[in-house]
Amino acid sequence: MTQIYAYIPFKNGAAEDVALEYPAAAEKIEAGATVTAIVTGSGADLDGVANEMAKYYKEVIKVDNAALAYPNAEVVRKALVNILPADAIVLAAHDTFGMDLAPGLSVKLDSAYVADVVDFEGKDGDLLKIVRQELGGAVSTHVTSDVSSGAVITIRPGAFAPVEGGDAGGSVTDKSGDAGDLAAKRTFLEVVEAEVGDVDITKSDVLVSIGRGIEDEDNIEVAQELADAMGAVVSCSRPIVDAKWLEKSRQVGTSGQTVKPKVYMAMGISGSFQHMGGVKGNPFIVAVNKNPKAPIFQVADVGVVEDILEFMPELQEAIEEL
């Protein structure tokens, strides 16, 4: 039976949502596989998360060390290499920490690596069958990975259903003594909090959100006028912030703001998972995009295949005439 280890990320003493999504992923790797949660950190925060995880996992390993108090990927990797068996299947999250940790971990464990998995289709001998996406979600792929000498796999947060219950009655094993030398060539200094902008997009019930389809900084005015007509606020996807056309505080996505509007107007947004990861609370999503194959149409409630630069002014006029 395959032994799977799940790395539990947490912040401020609370496990991230993905912590409860690993069991479903593990079950799809191999029905009945045993999953051990592994938590690294320091002090009361760590103990709290480890005990919480024991409600969902039969076995929890905790590693307590002052050097692990902030999750510095290099330090965590050193501890994991000393604690995990070399042929382990290790699950981590495809998030900003997982991307920092997992590729190097797979090298040090000399095992296979697969990133950003959205589904598993079981094993065929030593070949694990995997579903991923490429090209910003425009296409899906089947991938096989030879896991005979172990694997490190990152799963996409939100891709697997969270485990129900919380009555696993698991035990916590302290393996702090096995962490080994945790000296690192990278030192964590501080977290610089995001600046608060002049408009708080998280407070608006209606967002007119613009992406690459806006094409030019001058066209943002077109979106602003539509937003004004709707009593909405303009938010955006990453490329608009990268181009410095709007402030970071207007960006919706995992690396920006998390919003919970009633209505989300995705204008010229392709709909990458990083972007949609910032849209919570199941809003009514309207997508307008001239590319009929844009991934956004798979998650939107209503879709329109038109050029937003022509469509938005017409919609604005019609709303103003109401």
Partner: protein, 262 residues
């Protein structure tokens, strides 16, 4: 500061509508527009800016076929000093580790203080930088959106983490960093710039030149392999509004009224 930037030629997601070929096992590549991976452009721009400030040189490297040379020339037109193409039939079908192993062999032939990659490329894995660092035993930071060079032993880097926050780290040189978009504004490359570097010699290195074991890279060495491409059945997806623009807007306004959008 001697900087190496790893770049990749990829299908341009902004310019293409992706279709599958008739067999359904690959993209229809006949009319695909290729360009340099967007993240890599930011990495090259950052390298050029660092060298402008503290001196040194920028080398761009790619693993690919003959056509991959065009992205090296483009980045040299931006201002990179040298280009290297790592090309061999034995490299075909490499997984992330294979690519990292090929790059490692090239890096060990030179002497670089700083190695940059894009945070991710067309496959969306974001794996090569971290693997390369681990193979070289260099420290690594991913998703870097700020670099402060203040000396030649250590640098300060900011990583983009969730919620728009930035995680500041100090990291010893030599190191590997993967660069996130938005760290700078990559300069425009005009046709004149491309012409200027059209005749520059770009060395091409094979597995033999690099001393790479052919069995450890390419299809032969890959533990992770793509089987096919497919279009997923996503269930219903969006209700697509059809008709004239006026008709669409009429239907849309009704829905927005019902859902609290107006």
């Amino acid at each position: 500061m001697e900087i190496l930037v790893c770049v990749k030629r990829v299908p341009d997601t902004a310019e293409n509508e992706f279709e599958l070929n008739s067999a359904g096992n690959d993209l229809d590549r006949d009319d695909l527009v290729y360009s340099v991976n967007e993240w890599d452009n930011y990495a090259v721009e950052e390298a050029i800016q660092i060298v402008d400030n503290v001196g040194g040189s920028v080398t761009v490297v790619t693993v690919g076929d003959d056509e991959a040379e065009e992205v090296l020339r483009r980045e040299m037109a931006m201002g990179a000093n040298n280009g290297v193409l790592l090309s061999d039939d034995a490299f075909e079908g490499s997984d992330g580790k294979g690519i990292a192993a090929i790059l490692k062999a090239e890096i060990e032939k030179g002497k670089y203080d700083l190695i940059l990659t894009g945070a991710q490329a067309d496959e969306g894995a974001g794996q090569v930088g971290g693997m390369l660092a681990a193979m070289l035993d260099y420290p690594y930071a991913s998703l870097v959106n700020k670099i402060e060079v203040d000396g030649d032993a250590k640098i300060k880097v900011g990583r983009e983490i969730e919620g728009g926050n930035q995680e500041m780290n100090e990291i010893e040189l030599p190191c590997v960093l993967s660069i996130q978009t938005g760290i700078n504004e990559p300069r425009y490359v005009g046709i004149r710039g491309i012409r200027k570097v059209a005749k520059v010699e770009i060395p091409v290195k094979s597995a033999g030149d690099l001393g790479v074991d052919e069995g450890a890279v390419g299809e032969a060495g890959a533990k992770t392999k793509r089987v096919d491409y497919f279009v997923p059945d996503m269930g219903d997806g969006a209700e697509m509004l059809e008709g004239s623009t006026d008709e669409i807007i009429e239907k849309l306004i009704e829905k927005l009224k019902a859902k609290g959008g107006l």
